[in-house]
Symmetry: none
Subunit: 196 residues, 4 copies
DNA sequence: AATGAATGAGAGTTCATTCAT
DNA sequence: GATGAATGAACTCTCATTCAT
């Protein structure tokens, strides 16, 4: 059972993402966000201490929404190879189908360098993603599915290619055939890891 | 021959990059930039129409400085494989050694979604990078060095992995072993392209 | 018999004094007062028309509590000299022992210049004090205890020295030896009035 | 030679006093002050870091303007008795003739309890006044003009009566015959100190 | 060319007040 | 009676921009 407070908080967070996605972080003012959330700007300060708190809550929310999906999906597969094969297109799909969030994340990445309060959850998010991926790879190596590689470094490479592809696509969707890129990344990795 | 105006303009552009790298785009005020450029803030409006113009000129400047280096390097190598082998670490090195610019670029990527005046040069920059890389791959295929792949898609994958690695590194340098990642990307690509 | 409404009103008034004493008038918000009164902020508007009304009621309340004590004390003494001798330390003691109220009064004095609704009760309070003191002096003169002075002016001087001493003490308690000052004021006045 | 900056700063400080005297501290907004200073509100932030800085500078300014006059006057007299006789009406006159500042001071006294940045200069102001007065008294005692009293305590009493008289007068000018009160205070003190 | 005084739009934030529950 | 969600006015402060000097 959700209280009206929880509902409002979620509305505000969603409005925040919609705003930075549509207008950019710099123009995501308290009043803009309130308009999109369909409420008075004063109400945002009723539910959140200040703007920082909205940002912070939003990042945490996004981390959960964005990445939780991956873990659930992974559990459906047995072998490490299959898990990786699932992971790559799914990772890109989440962004592609959730345009708002993908564009917003880019703003958050940029902000994280200079705002400690954002940096922490963003780094935590990447750390988690690295751990998921390197966990899959390590298991693949242990089970003899994959060739021996540095799982941590390889996870970074995979994460980089996925985040990089999303970045290219956010900056220039027309020139970035995201699906084909996803397939190519998948093929590249599978081929490499399974090479004897 | 550079006029004093050109010198001032260059100083301002460099000061702009230093500022967004050190303080973030949001805190890159006209006054901050002027301080770093060692001149009065009013003078910035003398040399540039408005703040947008400074940003625009800076992006164009950075595209030239940042990417031109790659082309020069590539010309030193004959084979496509060698060119690619040069490109990967060099691309990452430019960012790593020029921390300021790497961090600044991330801000510009984020801004580009919502600022048409930034979007154009940023997209042009990626287009150029893609063309350079896909050109190398296409030549490798034509010369029989590489297996047959879609050069355009493959170029996107390489560019994505390089930009993605830089992104990860900007967000969390400690957890991102950039050199090892570069080597792994290189190995991955070479292995894949040269596989029969 | 006090209704629950009267009890609440008194609680609110006391909470108001505690608040302006602890945080200053500027920070005495409706919510702060409500917190201290142990009730919801909305309830304050149920019992009082608006914030002005709380202030107004509080001033009137304080006038009664603060000054009534003096009259009761005075009645215990016969001669004017004894009454004055009682009055001086007692006046200072009330403030000293009731730090909260003394600090709050200072805020109210300051406000009274610009808020007619506060000015009236504050002026009434001073008028009453002047009348009590000048009454004592006038009786002392009539009874031959005191030398002939302008009772009204003398009352003002006594009131001024007492209020002034409290003011100094509120502003800087460490540098203001209130007890010694009280004794000196007493000695000064007694010596003067009884001089032949 | 005063720069335009110094002139503006002085104008702003004077406008600040006029504002809190006319409207009270609570309504002394940056815009109100700017209006009275005949300039744009943004300019106040050009000359002062923030509102606190305006308050701070104003208090320091007032201390100098208000009290310096006393020291100059004192030097014209030889004997301690004459100095005291000069001091009392002069102290009250400064306030009376400079209505704005007197009313403003009351606000500052009230604020000082809760604002450390105001408390310090206000306490310093009182400390200085106490030292001036106790210095005069101590000299009078040493020179055999005055009876032996605790100069520090006596100075507090005199200061209290003067500040208290001003307080009464600010709160209710009609009921406070400031001149007569001043004479009475003078007579009281002279009589007491010179009594053998 | 260079300065810095001056402007005004707009940001985040606070808070008294209202009102449905 | 009691709560807390909701509103809107007004506050301090920031900043790009203009302009007289």
């Amino acid at each position: 059972m959700e209280s009206i407070g929880d509902i409002r908080r979620t509305e505000i967070i969603e409005a925040f993402f919609r705003t930075i996605s549509e207008k950019g972080f710099a123009r995501a003012t308290i009043r803009e966000i309130a308009d999109r959330a369909g409420c008075n700007h004063g109400l945002l300060h009723h539910y959140f201490e200040d703007k920082q708190a909205i940002i912070h809550a939003s990042v945490e929310h996004a981390v959960n929404v964005y990445k939780q999906d991956l873990l659930e999906g992974l559990n459906k597969f047995e072998s490490a190879a299959e898990q990786l094969r699932f992971l790559v297109p799914r990772y890109l799909d989440i962004g592609r189908l959730n345009l708002e969030i993908s564009q917003a994340w880019l703003d958050l990445y940029a902000l994280s360098k200079n705002e400690a309060s954002i940096q922490k959850p963003v780094q935590a998010c990447f750390r988690e993603a690295r751990e998921i991926i390197s966990g899959v790879i390590a298991r693949g190596i242990r089970d003899g599915e994959f060739r021996k590689v540095n799982a941590r470094v390889m996870a970074n490479v995979i994460l980089a290619s996925l985040e990089g592809a999303t970045l290219l696509w956010v900056v220039d969707a027309e020139e970035t055939p995201l699906k084909a890129i996803g397939k190519q990344i998948d093929d590249l990795i599978q081929t490499y890891l399974q090479k004897e």
